[in-house]
Amino acid sequence: MSDIIRRDPRKAWIARNRLHPEHASVLAELGMGDAQPAQWMGPNGVMRKDPHRVGFIGPAGIKRIDRSGVQGAPGQVQARSTAAQDTRTAVLIAEPAFHIVVVPDMAGGRLSAHDRDLLGLARQMADKNASAQGAVVAIVFGELKEDSWGEAGIDRLLHLSDAALEGYSPEYRIAILSAAERELKPRYWLFPDSSLGGGDLGRRLSVRIGERAATQVWQVDLESETPRCTGRGAAGRKDITRDLPRVLLALAECGEPVSDTRHEAQAIQLQQPLPEQLVRIEDLGAVAVDPASVALSEAEFILSGGNGVRDWDGFHQAARVLGATEGASRVAVDDGFMARDRQVGATGTWVTARVYMAVGISGAIQHLQGIQSCDKVIAINMDPGCDMIKRADLAVIGDSGEILSELVKRVDGLKQENRDVA
């Protein structure tokens, strides 16, 4: 045999033509099959990619390259998703130089956005000096549903749950926080300045430990030689800038939430037992509130009626059975079916409900403005093309009276079942 390399132009052509039925077998024959990876390190240290080997053939027989890694070869997907998880670096602070204690509100047993902002601020303050890093300690009370403590930037977690801590128990909580003050000697205490919870506890603690708290803080300047903070005063009309005190009550968006580090969230306990508490405030439990008496702007669940409602008695009945606060569109108010203070929209009330149920409301722009901060919108309407349907998370096209009466039947049935069980 001669040393001359003979090429088979037909095979070379098949190897180039990825749509040819013999493509794979010819590639294997020529030694260009699966052995060669889609990307490799080139001789000059540059990643080389073979564009013919990435991507996949789409349903129309056209090659697709999906760079998000969502689709494509299964092996690639695995690699991408693990890479996405690993971008957060794990931070371990074994011997902190100091402690910063955060007492989040934990509304509904979870870290709220406000809590996360506060933890982000605490993180900034703790990591200011890289050589002497501090630890962020979170003190949380009661039953919890949260599980991403480390991702929120917490190094140490002090969780106390006790029957006496349920409900409103500020005196007991302050006793715990005072014990934490004695044991941890934190450099700073951070509270969310919310009306109940952090705002109340923070003020109590600052008075107990004799520190003049900075309230409604929205900016902390750590760069100046003595750290300073800026907070609102005089009912939000003044900005007060002062030296950073030990107790801070901060507003929402005071800092960026932690996003690219993961912390250990190690559980800690208080060493000393708590002294017996004299209970002077007794919690007698939640009061059943008549939904009709709740202010429209703060109602959680609103049933709102408009021009499409024909059966107003049925509407009121439905609101009563569902336990919803009643609202109305401008037309319903102008026509005298509802009171003026029930009007939702730009000229009426801007509502913040979690669930807003619009019955027979087509969705004028003024009305949609009024409901823009609602979480879930349910629309019941005859007209499938109206603006409210576009806004709604769930839209039911049909006669509102019939649907409401069916709904009332079902809710009544559920209530009856519960009564029978109980």
Partner: protein, 274 residues
């Protein structure tokens, strides 16, 4: 001990309620007025049966503050105690001394002042000094007897919580409390401002503070942390509004009701247990 002010015989069983009042300021014009929450506190005290409301203000009396203070008197009471304090004074010692002398069963006040620092710390400081329990965010007082009071505390979303507190106690009022009655001009003019001298302690810590008109807070930018160009583009091009939800067409009323009920149950707004 008690202040020897003339009272009718019916007042012997009355529960003494001290209401701490401050000079408010209008949110737009900044002009002096009765403070919103303090006026609600006074309203609550006046609405309590067999309560002897004592109005207390610690501050200065001048042309600016007098109309604001008199507007509290326009709500019905005949007299207000004015504890003379200069500007920038720490009113805590003076208030504490006066309240110890007065010996009320209840102290009501708004949760924070509308002028000055407005930190809302004063009620807490006062409760700590007096050693009394404090309840914040009050919506209503249900009943008061000799040794305890039953009150409703305002929670978010219009919810209420019932609490019982041992007397004497300090209560701060939330904006959810009943709206204060109108102030009438005649009673406001006729009412008396009884001035009381008190020790003065200046608040020296405030001297190191910079106070400016409130700046607009910077709006938080949406930070996109995407590793690939495609993710960044998708995030930038994404519409902020949800692109429409589920639309159920051509279905019976029963099916529609089922779908609505399912969503209501998922969101947890339906209370079927009671």
């Amino acid at each position: 001990m008690l202040l020897s002010t003339p009272r009718s015989s019916a007042d012997k069983t009355a529960i003494k309620v001290a209401v701490l009042l401050s000079v408010g300021s209008h949110p737009l014009t900044g002009r002096g007025r009765r403070a919103e929450q303090d006026a609600r506190a006074l309203e609550m005290a006046l609405a309590l049966p067999q309560a002897d409301a004592q109005l207390i203000h610690a501050g200065r009396l001048n042309d600016e503050s007098e109309p604001a203070l008199r507007s509290y008197l326009g709500m019905g009471p005949q007299q207000m105690t004015l504890i003379q304090q200069p500007k920038q004074a720490d009113v805590l010692p003076a208030l504490e001394k006066h309240l110890r002398q007065l010996g009320p069963k209840l102290i009501l006040c708004g949760s924070r002042a509308e002028a000055g620092e407005g930190s809302g710390l004063l009620p807490y400081l006062l409760a700590e000094k007096l050693g009394w329990p404090l309840i914040s965010g009050l919506a209503a007082i249900e009943s008061v007897d000799g040794s305890s009071a039953t009150v409703l505390q305002a929670l978010p979303r219009g919810q209420r919580r019932r609490l019982r507190v041992k007397l004497p106690a300090l209560l701060t009022i939330d904006s959810a409390a009943p709206v204060a009655r109108q102030s009438a001009f005649g009673p406001a003019r006729r009412g008396q401002l009884a001035e009381v001298d008190a020790p003065v302690q200046m608040d020296t810590e405030q001297e190191g503070w910079e106070v400016q008109p409130a700046r607009k807070r910077p709006k938080r930018l949406k930070i996109i942390k995407a590793t690939s160009a495609r993710d960044r583009f998708k995030a930038a091009a994404a519409k902020s509004e949800g692109s429409g939800g589920q639309v159920l067409k051509d279905i019976t009323a029963a099916e529609g009701a089922d779908a609505v009920l399912k969503l209501l149950m998922e969101e947890g707004v339906l209370r079927v247990s009671s």
